[in-house]
């Protein structure tokens, strides 16, 4: 088993409370299912869509409105046989329903 990180990117915000509720239930169900199959090393956390960017040699701090499609909305640490397997496990993620994507990245063993 190797470790991978899912970076959840983009995805439309829910328009109504009801839609938000349904989406949340889907996320819970999905996490639960992956966990029961033993693929979750750490559920990770969702992230707020706000933040700061610190950049350059001058370490300039700027507010970070990011382009929606790039925005990382959260992460999860996954265990899978290989990269192909990790990618395959992500297809049930509810983010696809709201137009987002999952970036699957192997943890680098240094």
């Amino acid at each position: 088993m190797s470790e991978f990180v899912y970076l959840y990117r983009g995805g439309r915000r829910s328009e109504s409370a009801q839609e938000g509720q349904q989406l949340m239930e889907k996320w819970v169900a999905w996490m639960k299912e992956l966990g029961q199959k033993g693929h979750i090393k750490d559920q990770g956390q969702p992230l707020e869509p706000t933040g700061k960017l610190v950049s350059g040699k001058q370490k300039v701090v700027t507010d970070g409105p990011y382009a929606e499609k790039d925005l990382v909305g959260g992460y999860t640490l996954i265990e899978a046989r290989d990269l192909a397997h990790a990618a395959e496990l992500s297809v049930g993620c509810p983010i696809f329903e709201s137009g987002g994507l999952v970036e699957v990245r192997p943890v680098m063993n240094m």
Binding site: E25, W27, Q43, Q45
Partner: protein, 408 residues
């Protein structure tokens, strides 16, 4: 509320769950004093407890381990709030109360401890209130509860309704609720209000059993039926001057018609299937009493035969005593006295006030007031509260009147 909190915190964190409930109540007192009581106080308390639970789960996730049932779900914001919300859902709470109730009736605890524990965790009775209800000392109850908590903490999670031990545990739960109700109905507590509360809680928890697919067995229906049919009679048990009134003298128009018909409906539901428990028989006896419009209309033959069945299912000197009293109604007081003298192990009844009272009553009816007197006197020394004492003093005065009549 404690049940739901214990499910997310894990049963080993029972004290934490109790603290959160306590906190919620304290906050309620503060906030309601300023802003008035909200429209739905119990929902307000629930929301407060839920928020506090989420705070604790966030803050102490590294320091404590919570319920293993949820694994990582409580450690991550992806799932924390939704999982807690689900646990606090009304229907889920009902299930958790049921599981809590089953957890309290652990086979390693004695029956009295189980009942005390149920009262404490599911009915929110304080140690002092339980001590009052059982006419016991605070320290004795404290000890029972502490031990019960230790046993519970060792079992790691709440009892699973799907567990193989379910049937056996269900019997223990039914028994505990039966005892709880009896404590309310016949109990020693001098406070009528306390006893009414015990009966009401027993009926509420028995209804939880009926609402659950697996726990709604014929015995559970019979238990509820029995409670309804007894409770139906309670408005007539005390007369206008606050004195205990015997079944024969009660004003039957005071009996609660709604509870009577509910009891009857439940008894019919209990009759589905082949199971016949002591609760069935006791409910049937209660039904025969309730359906008689006047005391003299009571079908004593049927009652005696039901007591015969009850003795086969659950033999005890108390059941035999009740049977003997029914025999006295059917065949006269002399036959009743013979039956009492023939009760196996009747020396075990010596400390039971109703035993001496029954002997006195039957001697009195046989026209032997002088023989009745010492029995009533014994009963009087055993009486557990003012109402019982008043009743027996009244019987003693009757003995005096009868004795004087004979002299004249």
């Amino acid at each position: 509320m404690v049940a739901a909190l214990t499910r997310v915190f894990g049963i080993h964190n029972l004290a934490l769950a109790e603290d959160v409930v306590q906190d919620a109540f304290c906050r309620a007192l503060e906030v309601w004093k300023l802003r008035g009581v909200p429209e739905n106080p119990s929902a307000w308390l629930m929301t407060t407890a839920k928020r506090r639970a989420i705070d604790i789960l966030r803050r102490e996730r590294t320091a404590r381990t919570f319920a293993p049932e949820f694994g990582q779900m409580l450690a991550s914001e992806w799932t924390l709030a939704p999982v807690v919300a689900e646990v606090f859902d009304t229907n889920v709470i009902k299930d958790d109360q049921l599981r809590m109730m089953f957890s309290c009736c652990h086979p390693r605890l004695r029956e009295e401890a189980q009942v005390a524990f149920v009262l404490h965790l599911l009915c929110g009775f304080s140690v002092g209130e339980i001590a009052g209800a059982f006419v016991s000392t605070r320290s004795a109850i404290e000890k029972r509860i502490t031990r019960a908590k230790k046993v519970l903490a060792n079992s790691k999670t709440l009892f699973e309704i799907s567990d193989a031990a379910f049937t056996v545990r269900l019997q223990a739960v039914q028994r505990a609720l039966y005892l709880l109700f009896n404590e309310g109905y016949h109990g020693a507590s001098p406070e009528a209000a306390v006893r009414v509360e015990l009966c009401r809680e027993a009926m509420r928890l028995a209804a939880l059993l009926r609402d659950h697919r697996l726990a709604a067995t014929p015995a559970s229906y019979a238990l509820s039926a029995l409670m309804c049919l007894h409770a139906a009679r309670s408005p007539g048990r005390v007369d206008s001057s606050g004195n205990l009134s015997s079944l024969f003298d009660q004003d039957r128009s005071l009996w609660d018609v709604n509870l009577m018909s509910e009891g009857r409906r439940l008894l019919e539901l209990a009759a589905r299937g082949s199971e016949l428990t002591e609760y069935h028989v006791e409910a049937a006896i209660a039904w025969i009493h309730v359906k008689a419009h006047r005391a003299e209309d009571t079908d004593w033959l049927e009652i005696v035969s039901l007591y015969d069945t009850l003795i086969k299912i659950r033999p005890s000197p108390v059941v035999a005593l009740n049977r003997a009293i029914a025999v006295a109604q059917l065949d006269g007081s002399e036959r009743g006295l013979e039956e009492i003298r023939a009760i196996p192990g009747r020396e075990r009844l010596a400390a039971y006030p109703f035993y001496s009272a029954a002997l006195g009553e039957l001697e009195l009816r046989s026209g032997r007031a002088a023989l009745a007197r010492p029995h009533f006197e014994t009963a009087l020394t055993l009486a557990r509260n003012a109402t019982e004492r008043q009743f027996l003093e009244q019987r003693l005065r009757l003995c005096t009147t009868k004795e004087q009549e004979r002299v004249c």
